[in-house]
């Protein structure tokens, strides 16, 4: 095997293994999942039981619970009861002067802090209201600035509500779609080359690349449907992007039907190149443009922030970009094998024909 000529195939294998191992093994950051009491009243005690994820409360020596006020100050808890490594219950005494005169209620976050996990917070969890009643004389604690939180430097994947662990699917599902787009781009390039030069090699290359892209697209749809099952509960939603993507895949299936129904090689090559270019344009419009104009559950469309700034953390990026490269190179390898196989078959037939003359 000529390693120097095929360095990119070795690179794709190495990158895929890296993506698989790192993507599955790196843990998710700790976070707060749930709490049970969201109303607090000034002058009274506020008891809450919180459930966290991926925390080590039982091993922490310096465990604190706070209510984070909008003024960036924190109210410490009076008392913390550990239930287990991920659950605890805390009680706070809410001072009476905590609500400034300009507003009538405060929305606070619950923050739990320890030296192993750093801090976990549930934003906008509690509403503090003033009913004017005082239950008993309570000992109020002093407010603490936000800088006293302990940060921890750890390489973790971000904690996202609703998806939790399945954020790892970004490297598989989304990377497959991106790889599909790149492979289709290369296929369109070869189609244009064919139309300009009528060299049948380009037609073979573009058809092999399109078939690999179709396989990736179907795999992307199925993985997306599974992801939807685990996060939103259904296999298929009435989402614009999902519909448009399946329509785009149907267009590529019809590319194959067109190709297989034509017998003359030159006509087949010419028509399928034209159809390939035109389905790529249709794909771009259907999948990129239309979902942005309407509401969609997918990130980056319909008013949601774009998939790039808010959805991709820096830690996710270090595995996401290699995943795209790995899938693209893998697809290019499979397409190259396909082209070489068909050309070898044609050459053998040509040789047999020449020898028999």
């Amino acid at each position: 095997m000529d390693i120097k000529k095929n360095w990119w195939k070795v690179l794709s294998v190495i990158l895929m293994l890296y993506v698989l191992i790192a993507g599955i093994l790196i843990p998710i950051s700790p976070g707060l999942l749930d709490f049970d009491n969201s109303n607090a009243i000034t002058g009274q005690k506020y008891n809450v039981k919180v459930k966290a994820y991926n925390t080590h409360f039982d091993q922490a020596k310096n465990l604190n619970a706070y209510l984070l006020l909008p003024s960036d100050q924190m109210l410490p808890a009076d008392h913390i009861d550990l239930i287990n490594a991920v659950e605890l219950s805390a009680s706070f005494s809410i001072p009476q002067d905590i609500i400034p005169d300009s507003v009538d209620r405060l929305d606070c976050s619950i923050v739990i802090d320890n030296e192993i996990d750093g801090y976990v917070q549930y934003p906008d969890a509690v509403t503090i209201k003033d009913t004017g009643s005082v239950s008993q004389l309570l000992e109020y604690k002093a407010l603490v600035p936000i800088s006293s939180l302990q940060g921890v430097d750890d390489f973790n994947f971000p904690f996202r509500p609703i998806v939790y662990e399945t954020v790892r699917n970004t490297f598989f599902h989304v990377a497959i779609w991106m790889a599909m787009f790149l492979i289709l781009l290369v296929s369109c390039y070869h189609s244009i080359r064919y139309l300009m030069s009528t060299d049948l090699l380009h037609d073979q290359k573009s058809s092999a690349l399109t078939s690999v892209a179709l396989v990736f697209g179907i795999a992307g749809l199925i993985t997306g449907s599974m992801w939807a099952r685990f996060t939103w509960g259904t296999w298929w939603t009435n989402d614009v992007k999902l519909n448009m993507t399946s329509i785009a895949l149907l267009i590529y299936c019809s590319y194959w039907i067109l190709r297989s129904s034509l017998t003359d090689i030159d006509t087949r090559a010419r028509l399928s190149s034209v159809f390939n270019l035109f389905s790529f344009i249709a794909l771009m419009i259907l999948v990129m443009v239309i979902p942005r104009m309407t509401d969609s559950l997918h990130p980056g469309n319909g008013g949601n922030p774009a998939f790039g700034d808010e959805d991709l953390d820096n830690t996710l990026r270090t595995i996401f970009y290699p995943a795209i490269i790995a899938y693209t190179l893998l697809g290019l390898w499979i397409a190259q094998l396909s082209v070489r196989y068909y050309r070898a078959k044609d050459n053998i037939e040509l040789m047999i024909y020449n020898n028999s003359k």
Partner: protein
């Protein structure tokens, strides 16, 4: 020669099927291992099984591709020599 070509035809079809399955299975396993999210514990024991299965499937695919690559290189060299 004929038998070799027929075998390769079959292998090519199976290749595309296996690629699709591989890409799907690795996601299924990753996601199904996370269904223990309700316990709020990291399923450390099971995650290594998932990783092992996915890596083994991937390596099977790669070995298959390398085999096909070798066979095609041999045939191309034969064609070039003639």
């Amino acid at each position: 020669m004929e038998l070799d070509k027929k075998l390769r035809d079959l292998l090519n079809i199976m290749k595309s099927i296996i690629t699709t399955f591989f890409l799907i299975i690795q996601c299924t396993l990753t996601l199904s291992a996370q269904s223990e999210i309700d316990d709020f514990f990291r399923s450390t024991g099971k995650i290594y099984t998932v990783l092992g299965v996915v890596v083994i499937l991937f390596l099977v695919l790669i070995i298959y591709l390398i085999r096909i690559e070798k066979k095609i290189s041999i045939i191309e060299k034969q064609i070039n020599d003639e």
